[in-house]
């Protein structure tokens, strides 16, 4: 997953950096496996860990002036996307519980409200109501980043 992600951002991490990242991420995922509730797929759940770890690594790499440069000219734009998305992943994590799962199921697993309702054993209308409430909370959580970007 991380190798694929790294390829998509122009191999911003070198092979040895990627290997270290994979191992660290694996430990992180494993240690938190108990928090996996099974409502969204494991891949969706684990993906956000990978994204956090990758974003952290890219941030620290950007902060190190003496560190190796990003490898392709287009990489900075793609790296910026990773960091932007990371704010969203973190905000979803902060939502927690069923609201976070509904957002993940809707946008990351492309389920309809009927499908979400079936997965979570709630009615489609309830799923819809909770989804829009989750969006409202997400907007609040993301407001600082939004304001920073719009400034």
């Amino acid at each position: 997953m991380l190798a694929a992600k790294n390829a998509r951002i122009g191999q911003a991490l070198r092979p040895e950096e990627l290997e270290d990242l994979v191992q660290d991420t694996l430990v992180s995922i494993w240690r938190r496996l108990d928090s996996f509730a099974g409502r969204a797929s494991l891949e969706t759940w684990a993906y956000s860990f990978c994204h956090h770890e990758l974003a952290n690594r890219l941030r620290s790499k950007q902060r190190r002036p003496q560190g190796p440069e990003l490898r392709e000219e287009e990489a900075p734009t793609k790296v910026a996307k990773v960091l932007e998305y990371d704010h969203v992943y973190r905000a979803i994590d902060r939502l927690g519980g069923e609201e976070a799962d509904i957002v993940r199921l809707k946008h990351f697993e492309e389920l309809t409200f009927d499908g979400i309702g079936a997965r979570l054993e709630i009615s489609p209308n309830t799923a819809k109501t909770r989804y829009y409430r989750a969006l409202g909370r997400l907007r609040e959580l993301l407001a600082p980043q939004m304001e920073e970007v719009s400034r």
Partner: protein, 194 residues
């Protein structure tokens, strides 16, 4: 992120989430064909063992092994004792043969507040170091290291994670150039050892 008609992020939040979803699904599709991506099989093995409790050992295999050229002669694992004390204590490094060395540090005052630090070093051989968690049913394992010539230290605990299992099992396995398992050894590590 742009500002939408109803306030910051209003645009767009659903659109942005869709965009992230598209990126995520594309990455996952591409990841599915990277069969030799280190770590993925270990994740799947851990997942399977948790779900079923089945006794299926996770053994990373694949093309990567065929690329690793050296053959190791043997492996051993160290059994060492941990005194409980507040300062980190380093056990005598063990030479395990074939240029392999394993050291384990323990730190922390309580049995459940122990941080573990594993340092491994070996030369030439293709090796896998796993740490097995007895709290997971079955031999669920995590691949922590796969290297030819490496020195690496792994801190297995952080303030954000639950306490590291105590005891835990360290397993070292060496592979030949064709990916065949040459030797393996296991060692239980516990803070209650004295």
């Amino acid at each position: 992120m742009t500002e939408g008609p109803h306030g910051p992020g209003d645009r767009g939040l659903e659109e942005l989430l869709d965009e992230i979803g598209v990126e995520q699904r594309a990455t996952l599709r591409e990841a599915a064909v990277l069969r030799d991506c280190p770590g993925m099989e270990a994740v799947e093995g851990t997942r399977g063992a948790r779900a079923t409790g089945a006794a299926a050992t996770t053994r990373p295999r694949g093309r990567i092994w065929s690329r690793l050229g050296w053959v190791a002669a043997a492996a051993l694992v160290l059994i060492l004792l941990f005194p409980r004390q507040e300062e980190p204590s380093q056990l005598q490094p063990a030479e395990l043969g074939a240029g392999i060395e394993l050291t384990v540090d323990a730190a922390g005052p309580g049995a459940r507040r122990v941080s573990w630090q594993l340092s491994t070093r070996w030369e030439g051989a293709s090796a896998t170091l796993r740490v097995l968690d007895p709290e997971l049913r079955g031999p669920a394992s995590v691949l922590l290291e796969r290297a030819g010539l490496r020195t690496r230290t792994l801190l297995l605990e952080s303030p954000e994670t639950p306490p590291w299992p105590d005891p835990f099992l360290v397993e070292l396995e060496l592979f030949g150039p064709g990916g065949q398992s040459l030797d393996s050894a296991r060692h239980w590590v516990s803070s209650s050892d004295s």
